[in-house]
């Protein structure tokens, strides 16, 4: 499942992907990044990512 991610100022900057084995990936919002292209395809298939965490402080 994808999850939106924000930078240290709370602005959207990436999409997270957590694998069942605990490993994961943070994908920058860059149309040339093939991981981001896969995310866009996942969105186009009608899926919705989890919201980003609130800024801690």
């Amino acid at each position: 499942m994808y999850k939106l991610q924000n930078d240290h100022r709370g602005n959207p900057c990436a999409v997270g992907l957590l694998n069942p084995d605990g490993s994961g990936m943070s994908i920058p919002i860059d149309p040339a990044n093939t991981d981001y292209q896969a995310y866009l395809k996942w969105l186009a298939d009608g899926n919705t990512p989890l919201p980003a965490d609130e800024l801690a402080e």
Partner: protein, 407 residues
């Protein structure tokens, strides 16, 4: 057979003419000899006129360096797996730059130097795949492949009337003799394919193969830019929906040729490959040997790995922006193809140390901030002091951080 020298012929009144441009000798206007071979050391530098050595002849890409469009063709570099066996998910990378596709999970495993056989002379590594199944389905795909960046194939002029032929050469060893196959495909549109075949004459024996492929004069090809331009595929048993007639370009998505051997169709079957070279022209030349550091740098344009080698592998310096947030910029040793994704072995892979207090990561985030450096935000428990310089390192010998900008 008696021979007559040119001098003797001349003494007999014969007119002897030698034409070095065609390597022929004529006597009294009649062709007397062809394919004349010059003896060793018979041509000195002084006897070669300057005008006979032209830039056009020297610029033939087959006589120049960096002629191999395949990166890591000798399978030396395995940043992700370090020689361990994997049962790859579809799209997972194996040795650097080569990825696996299996539309049904767990039908084959892959490993650098699988089976520990002796590689072909001159090579130390190979990419091995081993079938875990007796699977067969018309609609499934099984192959390994490498995608080549569009800007590295522009000179081939595919998709135009000037398209150049290419020579694909490689060493292969399979437990299954017979006709195997692969293909060239335009990427990323994947609607132009050239299925090819090659014969494994003897099982479990390294054999060198060459396939000459005419350039595609049709279709839409990406010939510039940082996206994918061409995919070289070695088929492991793709179904009939994904194979086609060998030896001709077609408008489909083919990963192999009709009727070829299926590796995943025989449980335990092996398919090993190395020395993969794709070059312009209609002749396969010797495998291009590039220094390890050069080859690694070529790989790092698409993937870089940190950690996994020492307890604390330093990633970068940065600063805390709160009691649970670290922000750093990682300077990448090689410019990447695009803004990379950051991968981690576990959310707890990193330690943030602000020179007094330390925190273990619970979330790792990046962003699109360029190709030569990468933005890194690490979230920890509320254990840090705000606005302090801090260092970020891998947390234990198994922790890894990777940057990926694959095609």
């Amino acid at each position: 057979m008696p021979t007559t020298t040119a001098t003797e012929l001349a003494q007999l009144g014969g007119l002897v003419t030698t034409d070095t441009s065609t390597s022929t000798v004529t006597v009294n206007g009649t062709l007397a000899a062809t394919a004349i071979a010059l003896p060793n050391n018979s041509v000195s530098t002084a006897s070669i006129s300057n005008s006979s050595v032209t830039a056009a002849k020297l610029s033939n890409p087959q006589y120049t360096g960096f002629r191999n469009r395949i990166i890591n063709g000798d399978m030396r570099i395995d940043q992700r797996n370090g020689g361990t066996s994997v049962t790859p998910t579809s799209g997972q990378y194996l040795v650097d730059r080569f990825f696996a596709v299996q539309s049904v999970a767990s039908k084959y495993s892959a490993q650098q130097n699988a089976g520990a056989v002796t590689p072909p002379t001159g090579f130390s590594n190979y990419q091995g795949t081993t079938s875990l199944s007796t699977y067969s389905s018309a609609s499934d795909q099984f192959y390994i492949a490498q995608r080549i960046e569009a800007s590295n194939i522009g000179d081939l002029a595919f998709g135009t009337a000037s398209a150049q032929s290419v020579a694909l050469s490689f060493w292969v060893r399979s437990s299954l003799s017979g006709t195997h196959s692969g293909s060239l495909i335009n990427a990323p549109t994947f609607n132009r394919s050239y299925p090819f075949t090659f014969t494994v004459n003897a099982a479990n024996t390294w054999e060198f193969k060459t396939v000459i492929i005419p350039g595609d004069t049709s279709g839409t090809w990406a010939t510039s830019g940082t996206g994918a331009g061409l995919q070289v595929t070695f088929n492991l048993g793709s179904g009939s929906s994904f194979v086609g007639t060998a030896g001709a370009w077609n408008g489909n998505t083919n990963y192999g040729a009709t009727g070829a051997v299926s590796v995943v169709g025989t449980n335990g079957a092996t398919f090993y490959i190395t020395g993969v070279q794709l070059e312009a022209g209609s002749t396969a030349t010797d495998f291009e040997r590039r220094p390890y550091g050069t080859e690694l740098a070529l790989c790092q344009r698409y993937f870089q790995s940190y950690g996994g080698q020492s307890v604390n592998d330093m990633i970068t310096m940065g600063a805390t922006s709160g009691t649970s947030t670290f922000v750093g910029i990682v300077q990448l040793p090689v410019t990447m193809r695009t803004s990379p994704s950051v991968g981690y072995s576990a959310a707890s892979a990193l330690t943030i140390d602000d020179n007094g207090l330390a925190g273990t990561s619970s979330a790792i985030t990046t962003g699109a901030y360029g190709f030569t450096s990468a933005y890194l935000v690490v979230t920890t428990g509320a254990t840090l002091v705000t606005n302090r310089p801090a260092r970020c390192y891998t947390n234990g010998s198994s922790a890894r951080l990777t940057w990926s900008a694959e095609l």
